[in-house]
């Protein structure tokens, strides 16, 4: 409980320091007060799942995930750019259903956001363990095959830090 509040306080204060980018005493004191008020007031809203990143192994995998994600994002953008610029507009859109093994809300959110930012896929809805994905070039409407195509490449990393 206290650990969670402290974690959020440090995060908010860190962002404050980066935004103001100064170490003058009045600014720092204002930052401490604002971060403290926010951390206490919003404590019931934050579910604290993000504190799992305090575990070094999990943090390591979260950092590994960033370049992996950026690689897929570059590929995704070139793919969409090709489809937009091609005069024939080679699209075959549809909404498919995929299944995720992730249990935590934060894990599902990370997965859904990653899917939205990568190859021609956009998360439309989440119901339980199923995600509904708008796919610009549907390769398969089968749940297992679509899962293999869209989810697996992210899930195997996310499962290591958000479960």
């Amino acid at each position: 409980m206290m650990k969670k509040m402290l974690f959020h306080f440090l995060m908010l204060f860190g962002v404050w320091l980066l935004f103001t980018w100064t170490l003058e005493i009045p600014d720092v004191i204002a930052g401490v007060i604002v971060s403290l008020i926010l951390a206490v007031l919003l404590n019931s809203i934050f579910d604290g799942e993000v504190t799992s990143l305090l575990n070094p192994v999990k943090l390591f995998w979260a950092i590994i995930y960033i370049p992996v994600f950026f690689y897929h994002m570059m590929v995704a953008n070139l793919d969409v750019a090709y489809r937009v610029l091609n005069p024939g507009l080679p699209i075959k859109p549809g909404i498919v259903k995929v299944k995720t093994k992730l249990k935590s809300d934060l894990g599902k959110t990370t997965l859904a956001n990653s899917i939205t930012l990568t190859p021609g896929t956009l998360t439309v809805d989440i119901k339980g363990e199923y995600l509904y994905i708008h796919w610009i070039n549907v390769l398969s409407d089968n749940v297992e095959e679509a899962t293999k195509e869209i989810v697996d490449k992210f899930e195997k990393y996310i499962v290591r830090f958000y479960g």
């Binding site: 937009v84 909404i95 119901k127």
Partner: protein, 112 residues
């Protein structure tokens, strides 16, 4: 302000090109879901490139660090907004483009 360095200019140019493609996609693609694809992906990456260009130009000063923070916030908020818009449209009953091949969400909704 100093002159624009070559590396920063290259990054900002790539960013502007991606933003342009995103804008083109917004006009060319047929329905709201496809348009969101172009609007979220290309524009997010384009804006990231522009912000990286700003970071290279100014280094780790007050401006450069703000660029990093904006980058992080854009990466978090842009897909969330796209998700909210697409879910809202689907719940509201906006149809997919007629060339779409499958709509599992509508199938599952009609079963309930």
């Amino acid at each position: 302000m100093s002159e624009l360095s070559t590396a920063a200019a290259v990054f900002i140019s790539i960013g502007v090109a991606f933003d342009l493609i995103g804008g083109l996609g917004l006009i060319r693609l047929p329905d709201i879901y496809n348009r969101l694809q172009a609007a979220t992906k290309c524009v997010t990456l384009g804006t990231c490139f522009i912000l990286i260009g700003v970071l290279i130009q100014f280094g780790f000063t007050s401006i450069g660090v703000k660029a990093i923070l904006c980058l992080a916030f854009i990466l978090m908020t842009s897909p969330t907004a796209a998700h909210a818009i697409s879910k809202g449209s689907h719940d509201f009953g906006i149809k997919l483009w007629e060339g779409s091949v499958v709509d599992k969400l509508a199938e599952d909704k009609s079963k309930e």
